[in-house]
Amino acid sequence: MRAGIALLLCAASGLAQGADLRMTVSDGSNQPVADAIVYATALNPPAPVEHKASIDQVNRRFVPRVSVIQTGTAVTFPNSDNIRHSVYSFSRPRTFTLKLYAGTPASPVVFDQPGIVVLGCNIHDTMVAWVLVVDTAFFARTAADGSASLPGLPPGDYLLRAWNNSMSDEQPGEALHVGSEALSPRHLHVDGQALEVQP
């Protein structure tokens, strides 16, 4: 999975001519928030890109628990446990149910609508994973100190937003104009600390 994200980051860094945006994310009490997703969506979004991602199930946990993918990404749900799982989503952007299975299912699930998708396992109620489906390739995950950066943003107008899994909806976001000049660091807020679902 980490390989997947690395791939995504590589893809982003491929657009090297853009500006770099550095940001920090904090919560309501000004504490830095780790594992928040920051993403900048172009106001004129490009056509969906066929990407591939994977969310594993290890020791009755989804790994990674929080993912961010570009709209149109096909996600596979390999099962690394020796028990079977039945992954489902009742979330509007993508509702699906994978019947009990072991190993990797034949076909991935394509998330073709932006939005928040909460994944669960029908057998194991404690297994939860969040998938943020965004219409952009520019997104990042905050570090422990709440910092993240979006490098190489092509000039243009963007909507800059932050989210973590404690939030049930996306924020309205703030306007970001990328021109020729360097971008000053931004400070973003999310509602709360990232959720840790207890096993």
């Binding site: 489902y88 009742f90 979330s91 509702t95 909460v118 994944l119 669960g120 396992c121 029908n122 109620d125 297994m127 939860v128 049930s168």
Partner: protein, 807 residues
């Protein structure tokens, strides 16, 4: 059963005692059980309350689990999470029905009711009980009893997870009759679910019947007070607990747990009833038992009591037969010994009382009783009876001279002879001393006389004692019933009188004649009059002079009593002296005579008249212990020398009790009194005996003197008596001299003194001096007497002495 008997006292005591104990025990047990019962009910209620609360919780838990299971159903979640209103609606209804829910609501995360099976199609609204959701957020689920659409519901809120919580399913289960019944079955208490709204109670569901439900709603106090209420009259007493189970704004939901006190008291009541029954039973047993014991004790006591009553009545014949080892047995034994002892002693006493121990003849008492019985019988059968009273002659003499053992022998022999003469049915008794009595069952005079003669004949045979013949005769008095008296006492007395007559006349036997006796009435009045005579000085002493034959001088006189009766005139001594002797009144008379005679003697002495005065003493007087003292006192009082007084005693006077008579005479003689034997020759006294007595003179009985002029034998007796007297050194007095011939003869025979009508009849004391002076015309004044004597007698004697004496 009388209350004062030992038995009833014991029974009552025991019964009252046990009754008190029973009542005490019952009261203790009853109060203890009542307290225990109340505590038990209370405990039951407390336990019931706990069980109820636990059951209610468990119920909620079950419901919550059911709700949780429902909420985690994938299809249900899918329908909720993804479905439209219609789908959601049908899912709620469908799944609600699965868990028998009364209502199912879906509340979103914002607390808004999205769907509601109770109000389908209604506007969405905020959920009424957000706190329930809040609690469910924290605990995963929450339950509460709340009112929803007028229904009391157990609400359970559980999250719907997809997989994150997207909202809340609230499922309402009915709090209804079914639940109440279940809870009642578990707790054993009546369960009612009640709501309170503005002070009014509404029964939502109850296991009580309708009436009680209504009563409960009506009687429950306001909420706060209801929570503390433990007992409620509805109207039967119920113990209860009001358990709050939920609040909804103004409204309160409670469960009322209750139980009629009587239900719980039931077992205790049964115990009480058993206790009472046992008490009554034991009381009855005790009454029976104590009666048995009491009877066991008192029956022998009753028997003893009856025995004692018999003994008290004088019936000693029945032995007290009671063989028991206990105290009563010992008591009975003692009583029986007493009974036997009393019986034996009574026999002895009867014997002593009714039988003469010497002769084994009936005694006076028995004879008297027998006589009375026979008189009654004879009166009833018109029969006649006769009785004898017999007195032995000369017995006293035998007894005194030969000793009592001889006397006893004589009496026994007499008794034996009498017994031999008795016919069938006759009775002989010893009245006392030498006096016997005979009862004949016939009053025919001839047969009585025959028997009397036989007795006299039988007793004429001398009685042999140690080879020595003893001669005792008897005098018998006969009285006939009903001729002489109609009662025993008078009959005896009359026989007695007849016996005295026989004795006096020496006729052997005499049949009673009323002439012998003045009537009883007359006797009594005579006694009274005699007393009065002494008191009122109706008695007089007359003096008959004694002439000294040798000198014709008068030196002595015999004092003779006279009774000048205010009505009858002069009463002769023969009429009252024997009676006075018989009654013992003679002692009073003698005392009076002695007093008067000595006084008179003193008077004359002071007038220079030396007249020696003789006083007659009776046999009874000799029995008077203080006679010598009395006489000495009188002599001293009137200054009379003892030698001036001479006491005349008849032979029979001392023959009755010679020993005693001798003692008295010795004492009288010691004083210096002169003693004379009166009526000498009539008795049977032996000269040897008389010689022992301290007498000074012999007085020849008038029977010899008055007849001696014609009867040569009498003359011989008189002469030999005079000689005998003189030989013994005694003066000899002759009385009853009625003519000059006798006077002269006596003078010739050497007799010392003469007394009689020829000389002078008795005269009053006042007359004596004149008679001595010759100034009064009497039959023979002294001077004339002297002359006559001189004329008739050839032997002259000293004249001067007479003159000097007369002067």
């Amino acid at each position: 059963m009388r209350l004062n008997t030992l038995r009833s006292k014991m029974v009552v005591f025991l019964v009252v005692l046990l009754g008190i104990i029973q009542i005490g025990v019952f009261t203790l047990v009853n109060s203890a059980t009542t307290r225990a019962a109340r505590i038990k009910i209370d405990d039951e209620l407390v336990v019931g309350e706990k069980v109820f609360a636990s059951e209610l919780n468990q119920n909620a838990e079950r419901l919550a689990q059911a709700a949780t299971v429902l909420a985690s159903d994938f299809a249900f979640r899918e329908a909720i999470a993804t479905g439209d209103h219609g789908t959601m609606d049908s899912a709620l209804e469908n799944h609600g029905a699965r868990v028998k829910a009364a209502a199912v609501l879906f509340v979103n995360l914002q607390g808004v009711v999205i769907d509601d099976t109770l109000r389908r199609g209604a506007e969405s609204r905020p959920f009424e009980y957000p706190s329930l959701i809040e609690r469910a957020k924290n605990a995963g689920r929450a339950t509460a009893i709340e009112l929803l659409d007028e229904q009391v519901l157990q609400l359970v809120a559980v999250p719907v997870q997809a997989p994150l919580t997207i909202g809340w399913i609230v499922i309402g289960f009915p709090v209804d009759q079914l639940l109440a019944t279940e809870l009642r079955n578990i707790t054993g208490l009546q369960v009612s679910f009640v709501t309170e709204d503005k002070g009014l109670w509404h029964i939502q569901a109850s296991t009580l019947d309708e009436d009680l439900s209504r009563a409960l709603a009506a009687r429950l106090p306001p909420y706060d007070e209801a929570l503390r209420t433990r007992v409620l009259a509805m109207p039967e007493q119920h113990q209860l607990r009001v358990v709050p189970i939920g609040d909804s704004g103004e409204q309160h939901f409670v469960a009322v747990l209750q139980r009629p006190i009587n239900d719980a008291m039931g077992s205790f009541r049964a115990l009480s009833a058993k206790l009472v029954a046992m008490g009554v039973l034991s009381l009855l047993l005790l009454i029976g038992g104590s009666i048995l014991i009491a009877v066991g004790i008192t029956r022998p006591i009753d028997a003893l009591l009856q025995a004692v009553r018999r003994i008290r009545r004088g019936d000693y014949s029945m032995p007290i037969d009671m063989h028991r080892g206990d105290e009563i047995g010992i008591l009975a034994q003692g009583l029986d010994h007493m009974r036997a002892g009393i019986a034996e002693r009574e026999q002895q006493i009867l014997k002593l009382a009714y039988e003469d121990s010497l002769t084994q003849l009936p005694n006076r008492s028995q004879f008297g009783e027998r006589l009375q019985r026979e008189i009654l019988l004879a009166a009833a059968e018109q029969r006649t009876l006769s009785i004898f009273v017999m007195d032995l002659d000369r017995f006293k003499f035998v007894n005194d001279t030969l000793g009592h053992s001889v006397g006893d022998h004589v009496l026994s022999e007499v008794a034996a002879r009498l017994r031999n003469l008795m016919s069938e049915g006759d009775c002989v008794a010893r009245l006392g001393g030498d006096e016997f009595a005979v009862l004949m069952l016939t009053g025919e005079q001839e047969r009585s006389v025959d028997l009397a003669r036989s007795i006299i004949t039988a007793l004429e045979q001398p009685i042999d004692f140690a080879g020595q013949p003893l001669d005792v005769g008897a005098s018998i008095g006969i009285a006939l019933y009903p001729a002489h008296a109609s009662d025993a006492q008078t009959l005896l007395r009359n026989a007695d009188i007849a016996m005295y007559v026989a004795k006096r006349n020496r006729t052997g036997y005499t049949i009673y004649d009323p002439r012998y006796d003045t009537s009883q009435q007359e006797h009594l009045s005579l006694l009274g009059e005699l007393r009065r005579a002494v008191e009122q000085n109706e008695l007089r002493l007359y003096y008959q002079p004694k002439v000294t034959l040798s000198s014709a001088g008068i030196h002595a006189a015999e004092a003779l009593i006279r009774w000048v009766h205010p009505v009858r005139g002069l009463v002769p001594p023969g009429l009252f002296i024997p009676f006075a002797e018989h009654t013992g009144y003679i002692k009073m008379l003698t005392r009076w005579v002695l007093t008067e005679a000595i006084r008179q003697c003193g008077v004359w002495l002071r007038q220079q008249m030396h007249i020696e005065i003789s006083v007659n003493l009776s046999a009874r007087d000799l029995m008077t212990r203080d006679l010598p003292e009395l006489i000495s006192g009188l002599l001293a009082e009137h200054e009379v020398p003892a030698g001036m007084i001479c006491l005349e005693i008849t032979e029979s006077g001392f023959m009755e009790d010679p020993t005693h008579a001798q003692r008295v005479l010795d004492r009288l003689s010691a004083i210096g009194l002169r003693l004379s034997i009166d009526d000498y020759g009539t008795g049977y006294s032996s000269l040897s005996y008389i010689m022992k007595l301290p007498v000074n003179e012999l007085k020849i009985d008038r029977a010899f003197v008055s007849n001696m002029s014609e009867d040569a034998d009498m003359m011989t007796i008189v002469r030999s008596t005079i000689e005998l007297g003189h030989n013994l050194g005694l003066k000899v007095v002759a009385e009853g001299i009625e003519d000059s011939k006798a006077y002269a003869l006596l003078r010739g025979l050497g007799c010392d003194f003469a007394q009689g009508y020829y000389i002078s009849p008795p005269m009053a004391a006042e007359a004596l001096p004149d008679w001595l002076n010759g100034s009064v015309t009497m039959r023979r004044p002294p001077r004339a007497l002297l002359e006559a004597a001189q004329a008739e007698s050839l032997s002259p004697s000293g004249d001067e002495t007479i003159l000097s004496a007369a002067s």
